[in-house]
Amino acid sequence: MHNKEKHIVIIGGGTAGCVAAGRLAREGYRISLIEKDKKPGGKINNWYQLFPDRRRSVEVTDYINKEIDHPLIDLMTGTELDKVKYKNGKFSISTGKSDLGQADAVLIATGFDLFDATRKEEYGYGIYDNVITSLDLENMFHSGDILTTKEEIPKRVGIVHCVGSRDEKVGNFHCSKVCCVTAVKQAIEIKEHIPDSEVFCFYMDMRMFGPYYEELYRESQEKWVVNYIRGKVSEVSENIEGRLVIKAEDTLLGKPIRMEVDMLVLMVGMQNAKAGLNLQDKFGIQTGVNGFFRIRDNHYGNNLSNVDGLFYAGTCTAPMNITDTISHARAAAVEITEYLSKN
């Protein structure tokens, strides 16, 4: 195979980067896989169980780790890209630590950051005890204990959808797509951990876009009696007993609703990762109005950037679930293979 002479740099060792690395290595290309964290796997490492089937996330991380177990993949953790030079379709890339030499193609798979919940001050994250994010709740599932800061079992938990998504006030117009089903999944998990608790989801629209998502939503109602209230939470306060008081409109009844909860979980949305945005000037790439990288065509060019030889995979282009991220990464591998066969 002649492919070995070709070198691809992949930036980001999360789901997308690792899956693409595996595919391309098996095609015979030499891969430099750069990951800023200490280990590969990305955001899934933080998650406990995955929707829609609530499998343990480690099953998917195992798959990802196997993907990158290949002699042609040079995984560099704790490493970030430093300098880039682009000439005649070839990239010269160096990290802070070493010079990676010339790359025939580059794949950006820098993923997403979770929305910083402190920016929605009216929800009280970082101000009131027991206002947590969906990520904080996953950590609680990991530890096995869902407790308030007073180490008490919450009797009632509220879940707020669309925190930092579909919200012009924070500059995020887009829907983060996966938070609705995450809310449903976490509501079920709370009920599973604390069967006599009550869980209330405050939503604007329930977006069950993926296979088995609607079924999970149905299960949450039928088997777990999760409550759904259609109304955006406008503000949260703390009463004298230290319980959280939330205000919303019960829009389907047309009346304001006030409710006390022991714990409030904010479904934080997805934004293009800072680590990715830092590459913008280095590569001369652009973002769309949603802040994610702008792809060349919404239908058939969603791995292509405005720079020849530079490709995208995963959530740096749009919010995606893991299934779609893996598909997108595989598609990127196909695009790169085709590109390198011509160049």
Partner: protein
């Protein structure tokens, strides 16, 4: 001469969309294009001082205006105290306060006509 038969025709509660007068809607939309952006989340109504005591919901008002249910709009639009909290909350950036203001203005404008 009208005679009292002891009963009167009941006005149906169906929204007669094709017959309803949309002039108020058009008046507001033309002057405040952000009006079109409402997704009915109810954030405005949740934070509304008037909604705590009266049957006022800006979310509902928005839809009533769109459907041309002007009798109901007229009944509730004066309940707003123009405090503007709803504008601060709205995730779609609707200038809600101006919507109320323009609705009132539209009624004044069209008051010589039967709406």
């Amino acid at each position: 001469m009208a005679r009292n038969f002891g009963f009167a025709p009941i006005k149906g509660r169906v929204i007669d969309f094709d017959r309803n007068d949309k002039r108020v809607f058009e008046y507001v939309l033309e002057r405040e294009p952000s009006f079109a952006l409402c997704i009915g989340c109810g954030g405005c109504a949740a934070t509304c001082s008037a909604a705590n005591f009266t049957e006022f919901s800006l979310r509902k008002l928005n839809i009533l205006i769109r459907r041309g249910e002007n009798d109901e709009v007229r009944k509730i639009v004066d309940r707003c105290m123009l405090c503007g909290k709803c504008t601060l909350v709205c995730p779609r950036g609707v200038n809600t306060r101006n919507v109320v203001f323009l609705t009132r203005e539209a009624f004044e404008e069209f008051d010589n006509y039967a709406i």
